[in-house]
Amino acid sequence: MLALREGIVVNASLLNVEGLRKYFEVRRGFFGKREYIRAVDGVSLTLNKGEAISIVGESGCGKTTLGKTILRLYEPTDGRIIFASKNVTHLSWKELKWYRRETGLVQQDPFGALPSFMTVKRILEEPLIIHGVKDRRERDKRVYKALEQVKLTPVEDFIGKYPHMLSGGQQQRLVIARAIILEPKLIIADEPVSMLDASVRIEILKLLQKLQKDYELGIIYITHDLSTTRYFSEKICIMYAGHMVESAETRRILANPLHPYTRALLNVIPDPDPSNRFIIKNVPAGEPPNLLNPPTGCRFNPRCESMMKGICNVKEPPIIEVNRNHYVKCWLYGRT
């Protein structure tokens, strides 16, 4: 899906993902039938330079797999990943090296994401060593700079410490420092704040936002928490069961959610108004579908309030551009 603006193809985009699929093979027993978990099933998205987008969905919807497949930590089953006009979909490990330098990963569990036996300095040096920064002083300089960027200051206090000596927030800052030390253009932040105390969440998000503004970073922010996205990203993509069901600018989606699933998600955001505390929220019934054997037609149809029998449970809905740059994958908005 290329960004169309006034009929002209503007190829300012940093990342184009087209029809990306990632299936995991499972085999039950030695002679068992091969089956596939369709974790990501035909997802397309576009990210412009210096843009932040959020991918939102409940657990098991494939959003983490999508992130890792974009980073080529998983081999894509189908589709294309185009980064800075280069097709990286099937590049070999060696050819990928420049891509590794251009991308960064921030994971959910900061303590697990840091090797416990390395010092802060060593952790930050590793990517530099791997990418051939041989000069020790050059490495030191960049380590200092990265630590200052994530505000782990005074740097001297942190540089010799091991990860377990840092607090959760500091650990996550260190993870971010490691992700940006190679000066990438794209960062995938996979639930970067969900394991942190509420008090430091906003700090970390603000830090990411500042880095994004300062260095024109493209950020894909993966979360299950719609409430944090509005502070952060210009665009939101909603994922459900391996499909991208809706994508639009943040304020549009929050003001005018189109897909029944998006509406349900918005509906369950906690309301800070105490007078509403006795209102029982309307949660969509049922469980997320089994991705080994997803429902036919629209994958949300068994849980959907507006399900149209004979259409929704028969044929997969197309992606429809309802408003400008507001896409939805639902039969309610047109049929072909």
């Binding site: 990928l96 590794r100 330098r101 994971q107 569990d109 994401a113 090797p115 036996f117 590793e126 791997i130």
Partner: protein, 468 residues
């Protein structure tokens, strides 16, 4: 630096660790001393030199320190040599005319021990042209009694007279003494007793025979039929104790083997234990990390090696090829490389492989090899240090066990080899307990020290075992 200090303090909270470490340091000190004092080539040469080299040593002598624990003082070896000017050995070669030289050589020594010497030998080194000198050897006891031991013609160059092996002399002396005390000596009495015992009825039984203490003399007179000749004589009165370690059946100083056994055992144990652990860990990591076909192949090989009986195969190989000890080490490493621990390590690495930090390292482009060596192995390494330390003792014992079975390095002087010699020469039947005890004690102390350190390390690295 402060880190090391901190770790040592934690470690020394366990007394056993301190004790074990002290013993290990002492053993390392002994090793260092040995390597510099007796180079390995020299040690193996000495060890294989054969009996001739060691002729000055008593056979099967106990270590000297047994005298500290006994009222009965065992004799030390007395060596008197006319070549080296010393008290108690004198030599006179007097040219009588231009055709005749008179020879007069005298040895005298004090014998104050409570037991008889083990042997008595004379070594001659002569230099003459035409006719052999005629020599007569006299023996004078402290009580003044004089006996002619032998009259003979000396052969040229090196010659020896094993006094204690002279059967004719033994018969003669036996009948002389029997006549003197008017009773027949009813047993096969050794010459050493006949020459050194009090000549009374106590001599009738070997257990009551007592040493006549005092000054003994052995003198040689003779005539050589030329003017320019030379003769040197060495008298060796072999004792029953020798040095701090004693000697074996080939008169070799056990000390050499005990000393050299230390660096060999330590390096053998440490190299085997460390390299096997590291190789197994690496194979386990490769198996877990790459998965798929590589994993399958490694696991099948491991299973084959697990089924093969390690010790019987090792025994078979060492029976067919008499290995150098270092080749044996390589064989042991190769045979245990795919041991069962590979499966344990694989299981651990399969778990670590999924840790987010590994994924992060892939995201910034770490290569497979770097992930193996910098991310997977360092995570596990600290936890296996106790088992590496503990298994050092296993390999020290394995080497000793093979040597005891006669399958070790035939040349290297090792503890196991001493026990093997002791066993094949019936040391324990002959009461030569020191021969077995000394190497066994070294083995026991070595494994004890590693066990003490290893168990303490285990408690530190596995907090579940930590005492409150």
């Amino acid at each position: 630096m402060s880190n090391i200090k901190q770790s040592l303090r934690t470690l020394f909270a366990y007394r056993s660790a301190l004790g074990g470490l002290i013993i290990i340091l002492i053993l390392v000190g002994i090793s260092a001393y040995t390597i510099f004092a007796i180079p390995y080539d020299e040690a193996t040469k000495l060890w294989r030199a054969g009996e001739l080299y060691w002729l000055n040593n008593p056979r099967n002598a106990m270590p000297s320190w047994v005298n500290l624990f006994s009222f009965k003082k065992m004799p030390e070896t007395i060596i008197l040599d006319t070549k080296k000017p010393q008290l108690g050995a004198s030599k006179a070669l007097i040219p009588v005319s231009d055709k005749i030289t008179r020879i007069k050589i005298e040895f005298s020594f004090n014998y104050e021990y409570d037991d008889f010497p083990s042997e008595l030998n004379l070594f001659f080194n002569s230099n003459f042209n035409v006719s052999a000198p005629q020599l007569t050897i006299h023996w004078v006891k402290p009580n003044g009694g004089s006996i002619v031991l032998k009259s003979f013609l000396l052969s040229k160059g090196e010659d020896r007279y094993y006094i204690s092996n002279d059967d004719r002399l033994a018969r003669e002396l036996k009948s002389t003494i029997s006549r003197k005390i008017n009773e027949t000596i009813g047993y096969d009495i050794p010459i050493t007793i006949l020459l050194f015992a009090l000549e009374d009825s106590s001599i009738l039984d070997p257990s009551t025979a007592r040493v006549m203490k005092g000054n003994y003399k052995l003198w040689i007179d003779g005539i050589a039929f030329e003017a320019n000749m030379n003769l040197d004589v060495k008298l060796v009165v072999y004792g029953k104790v020798y040095s701090w370690a004693g000697t074996d059946h080939l008169r070799r100083d056990l000390g050499i083997a005990l000393l050299w056994g230390t660096p060999i055992a330590l390096s053998f144990g440490v190299i085997a234990s460390l390299s096997i652990a590291l190789i197994q860990m690496f194979i386990g990591a490769v198996s877990a990390w790459f998965g798929g076909k590589i994993d399958t192949i490694i696991q099948r090989i491991t299973e084959v090696f697990m089924v093969l009986p390690f010790i019987p195969i090792l025994i078979m190989i060492s029976t067919f090829y008499k290995f150098n000890i270092w080749i044996l080490l390589v064989v042991i490493i190769v045979l245990s490389m795919f041991g069962g621990s590979v499966k344990n390590y694989r299981a651990i690495f399969l778990q670590i492989k999924e840790f987010p930090y590994i994924e992060a390292s892939r995201a910034y482009g770490a290569s497979n090899f770097r992930i193996l060596t910098h991310y997977l192995i360092p995570k596990v390494l600290p936890t296996i240090i106790p088992s590496i330390v503990l298994s050092v003792a296993d390999f020290v014992f394995l080497e000793a066990a093979l040597a005891i079975l006669g399958l070790g390095d035939p040349l290297a002087p090792t503890w196991g080899k001493i026990i093997n010699d002791a066993h094949s020469n019936g040391a324990l039947y002959k009461g030569l307990y020191y021969w077995v005890l000394e190497p066994s004690l070294m083995l026991a102390v070595t494994s004890l020290s590693f066990a003490m350190l290893g168990f303490a390390l285990d408690k530190i690295f596995n907090p579940k075992l930590r005492e409150m």
